[in-house]
C-alpha cells in the first residue's frame, strides 16, 4: 500500500476507536460500518465505500466521499450529513423536539431549549416526528445549533417542516 494511501485511510486502530465511540454515543452497531472506509483529510473524516479508494489516484482528487465528521482528532464533531446518513441506525444521542424548537434549531437561534433529561455534554441529533432535523451541541448546560450557516441561509423565512412518511 502506498504511503499516500496509508496517510489517507484511517488506521485500523483509529477506526476501531471511532466505531466503538459511535456505538457508545449514538448506539450505531459496529456492523453498520462494515462496507465503509474512513478517509482522513484536513477538514475531517470522509466516508467512502470499502476497498474503492485504493482504485484511484489518491491525492489527485479534489474530494472523495461524504464528510461525516469535522475536526482533525478524536473525538470528532459529527456533521449535518452524519445526522442524515445515519438517522436510521442511530439509537441514542437523539432528542425529539417540537416543531417550534426544530425550526429555531434550523434558524440557528440562540435561545435554544429542548425538553429532555439529557445532561451529558456533546453533540445530539435533534429530530422532529422521528426525522433528523439538525445537530445541537450541549455545553455547560447551554444548547447551540450546529446547523450549517449555508443551510440556514437557503431556508425560507416562514419555514414549516412537513416530514416525508
Amino acid at each position: 500500500m502506498s504511503q499516500e494511501l496509508e496517510n489517507s485511510l484511517l488506521k485500523e486502530e483509529d477506526r476501531a476507536q471511532l466505531i466503538h465511540y459511535l456505538f457508545d454515543r449514538y448506539g450505531i452497531k459496529e456492523a453498520f460500518w462494515d462496507s465503509w472506509d474512513f478517509i482522513k483529510r484536513k477538514e475531517g473524516l470522509w466516508l467512502f465505500p470499502r476497498g474503492s479508494y485504493e482504485l484511484s489516484n489518491q491525492g489527485a482528487e479534489e474530494s472523495a466521499g461524504l464528510r461525516l465528521f469535522s475536526g482533525t482528532e478524536f473525538p470528532y464533531k459529527v456533521t449535518h450529513q452524519f445526522g442524515l446518513f445515519c438517522q436510521e441506525a442511530v439509537k441514542k444521542g437523539t432528542i425529539d423536539a417540537d416543531h417550534e424548537s426544530a425550526v429555531k434549531l434550523l434558524k440557528r437561534e440562540v435561545d435554544l431549549d429542548f425538553v429532555t433529561q439529557e445532561t451529558r455534554p456533546g453533540y445530539y441529533l435533534i429530530q422532529y416526528e422521528g426525522k433528523f432535523v439538525g445537530v445541537a451541541l450541549l455545553s455547560r448546560g447551554k444548547w447551540t445549533s450546529q446547523v450549517p450557516k449555508s443551510l440556514k441561509a437557503q431556508l425560507p423565512q416562514n419555514l414549516s417542516i412537513r416530514n416525508l412518511r
Binding site: S52, E61, E62, S63, L84, V133, R162, L164, R165
Partner: protein, 312 residues
Amino acid sequence: MDWSLFDRYRNFIPDFEGFLKSLEEPFPTGLRGTGDLGPWLECVSDQAYKKPFEELFFYEVEGERKFWGGRLEHHHGHYFMQAFSSLLSVLALSPDENETILDMCAAPGGKTTHLAQMMKNTGLLIALEPDLNRRRVLKANLNRMLVANCMVYASKGQDISLGSLRFDRILLDGPCSSEGTFRHDTLLGKKRRKVNYLSYNKEFREKLHREQAALLDHSVSLLKENGILVYSTCTYDPDENEGAISKLLKRHPNLVIEEIPFSQEIEDKLSQGICEYEGQDFGADLLKTRRVYPHKLNSIGFYVARIRKLSS
C-alpha cells in the same frame, strides 16, 4: 420567438408545426425522488402533481422552482430538481452496484447524483469538472444528496489521466449547442440571446464538434473491454448527435451501438435517431439511438446513444 434556427430540421422532426408550438410552452418542474414522494407532495402542496412514469420516482409539480428549492426536504436530499430528459442518460447507462463509473462532464450533478443513487452508493464513481464555480455546485449537490461513493477531479474530460484505472461504464453528457433547452422564452437568459445560440454560427459549432470528438475518443480509451459508453446532448443538431457517433465508430471499429434498455412506457415517447442528414449517411445503426422532442415528451429536447466497446 423566432424559431427559424430550427427550419433546417423540418425534414426529420415529426409533426414539425406541433414541435414549434411546443417551444412556446414552459415545461414542468420535475423532481427526481430518492424514494416515493407521493404522500408528502399531497401534504405540502394543494396543487396536483403528476407521476408520468409508474416505474420511476419522478414527479411533475406546479409552483415556482424557488418554492421547491427552498424546502427543507430539498436540502436534506429527498429530491433533485431536474428535467425528465436528463434522467434518460443515466437510465440508458443502467449502472449497477459495485461498478467503476466515470461521469466525464459532471456539473451541476443531476446525473452524477442519479448515478450514485442507482449504484446504491457502492463501487467507485468519478466525476470530472474543470470549472471551479461549477465544481463547487457539483460538490454541494453531492453533499446534499448524501453521495458517499464519488471522487471529484478538477479536470477536463479529454485531459484526465487515472493511471491504469478503466471503467465499466462512462457517461458523457458533454458541451453542446443546447438547442433542446430553447423551450420557452423564460429559459433564454441574456447570455443565450447572443449569436452563438439563436443563430447558426459555423465557427462555434465546429469548435464544439472538435471538443465532442476529443471527449468521445478519450472516453473510449478509458473504457474496459465490454464497457458501456452513453453519449448524450440536449441539442437537436444531427452533426453533434448522430454525426458525432457515426464518425466515432469509423475511428474505433471495435465499438457497436446497442439498443437502449428503456421501458416501453418511456420508449413510446421517444423518436429514433436519424440515419442521414444533408447528404451525410450516418448508417442504419444510428436508428438505435434516441431523440426527445418536446411535443412528444414534455421536457427539454435531448439525444442519447448507448455504445459498447467490444475489444481493446
